[in-house]
């Protein structure tokens, strides 16, 4: 009798990359629906455009590198990049801005570094940062979140489509009428013009803690994140690190000088904090790998985000914080190597 040889183990792994990526996508469905409800269908268009260019870029690069296109598209990693990018961009974004971000993220940040598993920077954030510094004026138009006011106008699919493709709204609408500064922008502007946080926050647009609409999206992202934690797709170290890094200084400053600083819960539920904590910083490829390293990595992102929100010229700063911490990963990994069983605590193996 003849048998087939293979190396142990003879039990197949259960997990696979594609299913991990798919579950990440499922976890974002509630937040996407909330986004559409509060800010209009813009995010869906962004997702489609970003998806098209991410997958196109991925396919082109895989082909150029002489590798299997089907395998790369089948792992859904490019789709995750596209979806996260769409969350970062405002609902009203011209298509070419989205395309630039998507292509830069996939082609330069991902494939020029060696493709999946080798990219130093989070592709979505790299692409977003490039358009953020290149076309800042096109990234301001957050539609007015749905409120009960009489003059509220829900920007519908056709109107969004027209803006996205041509950069112009229909004649009966002006961009100023349908868009507002994001809560982080409003708070930053308010605080810098000698208003107290309480005064800025009194605006009904600011919602209960993170800005109207924004806080709900954050809630749903938090829900998705908790689901991912329960499914063990992500681990708690990075989200907790992000929260600690952001909340510790924010709480301290708020307690010390509550008039001129935003409250910690505001920082937590506005902007991209939740998305970053559960879906961006947890990208395993560009994050630190040891548990302790992951906490440090997350805390670094939280801390830098707070610093940029407080002192920087950008209202949010999540993307910059992620990119900066991506750069620190090799050092973090090196400094937080776990102790190998059987080696003493103080003995760090010689390493250069």
């Amino acid at each position: 009798m003849e048998f087939v040889r293979r190396d142990a183990p003879f039990i197949a792994p259960r997990a696979n990359v594609a299913s991990i990526m798919r579950q990440v996508l499922y976890a974002l469905i509630p937040a996407t629906l909330a986004h559409v409800w509060f800010f209009g269908p813009g995010i869906v268009l962004n997702m489609l455009i970003a998806g098209l260019f991410c997958l196109g870029g991925e396919a082109a690069m895989m082909r150029a590198r002489g590798k299997s296109v089907a395998v790369a598209l089948g792992d859904f990693s490019a789709v995750v990049t596209a979806i996260i990018l769409a969350f970062a961009l405002p609902p009203l974004t011209p298509w070419w801005v989205t395309a630039t971000a998507a292509l830069f993220g996939i082609v330069v940040a991902k494939h020029l570094y060696g493709g999946l598993g080798y990219n130093i920077f989070n592709p979505a954030m790299a692409g977003y940062v490039v358009v953020l510094v290149s076309f800042p004026t096109h990234l301001n138009f957050w539609t007015v979140p749905r409120i009960g006011d009489l003059d509220y106008h829900y920007v519908n699919l056709l109107e969004t489509l027209q803006y996205t493709l041509t950069g112009n709204l229909p004649d009966y609408l002006t961009i100023d009428a349908v868009s507002r500064a994001s809560p982080l922008d409003a708070v930053k502007a308010g605080l810098s013009t000698m208003h107290t946080f309480a005064e800025v926050h009194a605006n009904p647009m600011m919602g209960h803690f993170g800005g109207r609409g924004w806080e709900w999206i954050s809630n749903f992202i938090l829900l998705g994140g908790i689901w991912l934690l329960m499914k063990k797709i992500i681990r708690w170290h990075i989200p907790l690190g992000v929260f600690a890094g952001l909340l510790v200084p924010a709480t301290f400053m708020y307690v010390v000088e509550s008039g001129t600083h935003a409250s910690p819960d505001f920082y937590l539920f506005s902007g991209g904090t939740m998305l970053c904590a559960f879906f961006v910083a947890t990208d395993p490829v560009s994050a630190a790998t040891s548990p302790r390293g992951r906490f440090v990595f997350g805390a670094g992102i939280g801390l830098l985000t707070y610093a940029i929100r407080l002192w920087g010229s950008y209202a949010d700063g999540i993307a910059f914080a992620v990119i900066l911490m991506n750069m620190s990963v090799p050092a973090i990994d090196y400094l937080t190597r776990p102790r190998i069983v059987g080696h003493s605590k103080h003995e760090k193996a010689p390493d250069r």
Partner: protein, 509 residues
Amino acid sequence: MSAPTFDLGYLHGGLRMPRRKDKSNKLPIQHVPVPQQLIIPITQHVGDAAHPVVGIGERVLKGQLIAESDGAISAPIHAASSGKVIAIEPWPVSRRLGGNAPCIVIECDGADRAIELSEPITPYESLSQDILFQKILQGGIVGLGGAVFPTAQKLMHASITPLEHLVLNGIECEPYITCDDMLMREQANEVLGGAQILMYALGVEHCFVAVESDKPEAIQALADAMTELQDHRIAIKQIPSIYPSGAEDQTVQLVTNKEVPSGGLPTDVGCVVQNVGTAAAVYRWICKGEPLISRVTTVTGDGIATPMNVFARIGTTVADIVNFVGGYTEKVHHLVIGGPMMGRSVTTDKVPLVKATNCILVLSDEEQFGNEQPCIRCGDCASACPVQLQPQQLFWYACADNEEKLRSYGLMDCIECGCCDLVCPSHIPLTADFRMAKARMRELADEVARAERARLRYEFHTQRLDREQLLRAQQLEAQKQAASEGGSKAIRDILERTSKKHDQDPGEE
């Protein structure tokens, strides 16, 4: 049940996996009859091959020594039944590198006549420890948990270190395997009897029998045997069934909460670990005079018609054993010697059962192994690693062949348990890669050692040449001086002497 429970040590990582043990532990242990041929490899243990002491055509009896231990770490081998030696030749066996190994082939006569049993030694305390070690060595007893380190040498080494515990390892953490479970259920008294002999040989006053908590029958059998024995030095310790809790160092860690230092042995933390099967084999040899010529092995997997445990002679081929249990099913793809996590697959069932064979696993191709994809550095492997390595980093450095980094990230501490493979979403064969990297590093170390030896030899050689040259120059100088001092007479003397020398011995110079 008087089994005291103790706090368990901490084990990083590990996996809870489908046990698949109830396939094979339903039936009692069956005895495989004498086969037509026994194929007995002369290397069935760690260390040097045994040296055959029988010739082709010679008649042998069951229990007769057919190959003696040869070397500091080695074990003798005995015939498992009576018959005629018909060949000593290479034969396919299961080992890491596959291929063939020298085997003594015995054609059995079926009479199964035994050599006169050596006198059972009762009480074993009548022997001094040293003689007991020698006796255990003669029984050909090796570790039956899979590592097959010669037991006598392990005990001898251990007896010169300060010891606290003997740990009997009854943990079969790999899925499918139940041979130790069945042995403990059916022969608990022999296991504990062996434990007593081992404790006496080692001079330890305490013994843990480590068993997984999901083996209630085995625990009950052990507890009953303990009640009968009334030996309060022995205690059962229940271990959660997390793979790889049965690996030697991990067992020590769980039982004593002490980590075996890197590159060290359990004796470094005062423990000696012996498999329960080894203890039973020691008991049978010392108290019944039967050397290690057969063992319990699990025959299981979805490729086996009736999975069960069998008691078979060393040297019986897998084909014979599978025949005995009712043959293969139609879903036969892999034949694995050992468990599904650390076993080795072979291409033919002509391989014989050896002392290390705790499981014969026949698998269908139902397990779907996906294609390898790039590592996404999710770190699940690091969470699963029982040694707390970072396989994702090791993999990276293994690809880059970066020996220095591999070393500093603890490649040599890898126990090759396969946990990382099982959790990897990219389906990277990490363990196989690490095994290869280790082999390469050992090779490299060998090469370095060889180069160092060559360098020393060369240096020694040149030094010798230099020394000789210097000596010759000195002699020449001395002669010259003598010549100049002694004047013409001296020169004549020298000339005379040399010419005489030439006449006498023209071959020289």
